[in-house]
Symmetry: C2
Amino acid sequence: MAETVEETETEKEAISIVGAGPVGALLALMLAKKGYQIDLFESRPDSRKTNIYQGKSINFALSERGWLALETLGIANEIREQAIPMYCRVMHDLEGNLTKQAYGKDNQAIWSVSRSGINEQLISYAEKSELINIHFSHRLTQLNFNDNTAVYLDSNNQVVTHQSDLVFGADGAFSKVRRLMQELPKQRISYSLDYMPQSYIELSIAANDDGSHKLEKNALHIWPRKDFMLIALPNLDGSFTCTLFMDQTGDISFDALKEHSSVNAFFNQYFPDAVSLLENPVEAFLAKAASPLCLVHIYPWLVNDQVALIGDSAHAMVPFYGQGMNCGFEDCRILSDLVDTTQGKWPLVLQEYQRSRKPNCDAITELAQRNFVEMSDLAGNANFLLRKKIEAKFHQQHPSLWVPLYSMVTFSPNIPYSKALAVGDIQNEIMDQIMQTPDIENIWQDDAIYSAMYELALTKLG
Amino acid sequence: MAETVEETETEKEAISIVGAGPVGALLALMLAKKGYQIDLFESRPDSRKTNIYQGKSINFALSERGWLALETLGIANEIREQAIPMYCRVMHDLEGNLTKQAYGKDNQAIWSVSRSGINEQLISYAEKSELINIHFSHRLTQLNFNDNTAVYLDSNNQVVTHQSDLVFGADGAFSKVRRLMQELPKQRISYSLDYMPQSYIELSIAANDDGSHKLEKNALHIWPRKDFMLIALPNLDGSFTCTLFMDQTGDISFDALKEHSSVNAFFNQYFPDAVSLLENPVEAFLAKAASPLCLVHIYPWLVNDQVALIGDSAHAMVPFYGQGMNCGFEDCRILSDLVDTTQGKWPLVLQEYQRSRKPNCDAITELAQRNFVEMSDLAGNANFLLRKKIEAKFHQQHPSLWVPLYSMVTFSPNIPYSKALAVGDIQNEIMDQIMQTPDIENIWQDDAIYSAMYELALTKLG
């Protein structure tokens, strides 16, 4: 008689995720796919049933890292149907002249998606999973970091208590999970919150009557004015979502521009070709309080190897590289991969997640901050554009030796951000040297330039 | 009949100072000297009547900036009577061999004072002033930043409300005033709290039976062991206050050393000449929780031009340059000077105080952080000591062209810290170059070395 061997599968950990934004929802889907039971808590009501996003259509630029994460769930194609590829930047100068700059080669694009759209798509997928319970209108108020008991207030202000094995704080730049972590004694949590000098307001350009776009559809439009800039991203309905970034204080600033006449003069002087397209820009400008831009750094991201921060709560960045959501999605993908490679050993998953993600998230936060100058000033600079052309030509000749920084960040699905930053700094040194070549404006296509670059690149990057 | 001209002197602002540590007490004295009515609030009881400092004798190294502030009050000489000059560092190597390094030239010294001693001296002066009301055991709980109404809890947990025209937060690295500021919406306050990898515990060396010191009295003793170090500062009673700085985690760390045997072995291996002098170092080590070291940056320091941070609350730094209190005293002196130069126009005083102090406090915070390496590693390094000797010799030849960084920070009463940092970085470049000279160990006294240094210094610093 054969012996009966009882196979007891170890029970999988119960997981709470605080925050059902794009990162929280994606994380829920990824972990549910691995068989974990997920409780997903969101302080706001279900946006599909309310108007909380009405009149506020933030856009994201989804790029390869984001797509890779969506592909692991098999939902990339459906999301892509709601996205608009932007193949180039179109720069608008003070006279309304346009300059195009391709983001990559061939058909490489970044994809304009609406925040609410992608969030609602992910929530709808989550709803279909038997392993995911979504709790809308549940606002976290307390968290016991010893046993992971969380206290929420629901929409009736009733106290709801929920205990789980693991808790993820995917609750954004002003994370409550993070604030509760910081109140713990003896955790030695280093933290910084840095405000940028710039703030922003959103404006819009409506569609034409026939639903077509008033500006080139498949582009990200920039009006670079050095200390400030206007950008526009296309929406499916023919409209553009525009953002004006400008200093909060100073000569030309949100604080300085308070009168109808001065705001009107400002738009006419700096955005002459946009002013007639924008929907009541002066009224919109005067009616809105500018929103701040801030960066958050925190370390560690973990408490007791049971509570972890992810996405903006761990590393809020400025929007100038279009990588905030992509980086958060990559957090989820890396974490999900670690569940496989460690066979679900959670302390190990979380420690390795923190160890590998922290330097990369620091790097993209740094790159995003630097990119304001590239977008607002250099994008309109002839010397800079020449530099980009030389880089692109060299990249075509030596596609693996030289991948432009922007491409490493945006079109690679997985080059670590920290490597992109380091390589980008070396490329910059090389380009500084090349741009010193006398008469470079006229001889930039000469073979000698590219031989010199090849020598430098081999030595410094090879 | 002569006309009567009524002279109405503008009434002076009523000022609250939160925190009666050395900086708060000094600020109270300085502002009272200018005729302001001061309410000085301290959360703890009067240390002169209780035992709160018993067994905890932190020492400060008072240097020129501190003395200048005390001199403006005419109390420097009395404080000096309670201070011990330390003319040099004495480095103790692994074999117990001693190396001396003078801090400056001639009779330049830093002065060892006890925290509680100088604090109590300042409090006693403040008590004698008719313009200063000291409120011990008053813990700040709320502050209305519109009308400067503060709420305190006294020792009986009774609510005390106090309104004033100006409020200073001199309440230290974990400032309550600062935390209340940070909770304000719309203030865009950038903030960082950074924990160093090192923590510390205090140990002590008792006096000889005759009250004399067991180590050279007029020196700061260092046992530099690269990743960790022990230091000792003399007290008037013949004892030394010692501090062991070491990583919190890692191979040799507070977390790793938990057993009597391993701690005993650690002291015997690394501090053989100190182990017999220290009072029960193993027991003391095991009994104490190591304290963290952290840095605080915040900006702005002001709210509504009525509430201001000063001292550690605005810029907590690590203790490795011995400048924390000196910098706080300099904050007070600069602020006090501004009251004179602006004739008491407070918004101007505070704005200018913030504008001028912020970059200087950032600079000394940076220098203090860097100095851990100098104290714990370089201080025991032959190459570094040679470098210092060359610098000192050159300084003697060209006393105004070249003032060593340490002297600019410590022995100048007023060179801005930010200037010291910038000049120090250039000096470092020059010394890097000089130290490349072949056979420098043997020819360092040659005239050619100093001619070369002179050329470099003239070009880069002249």
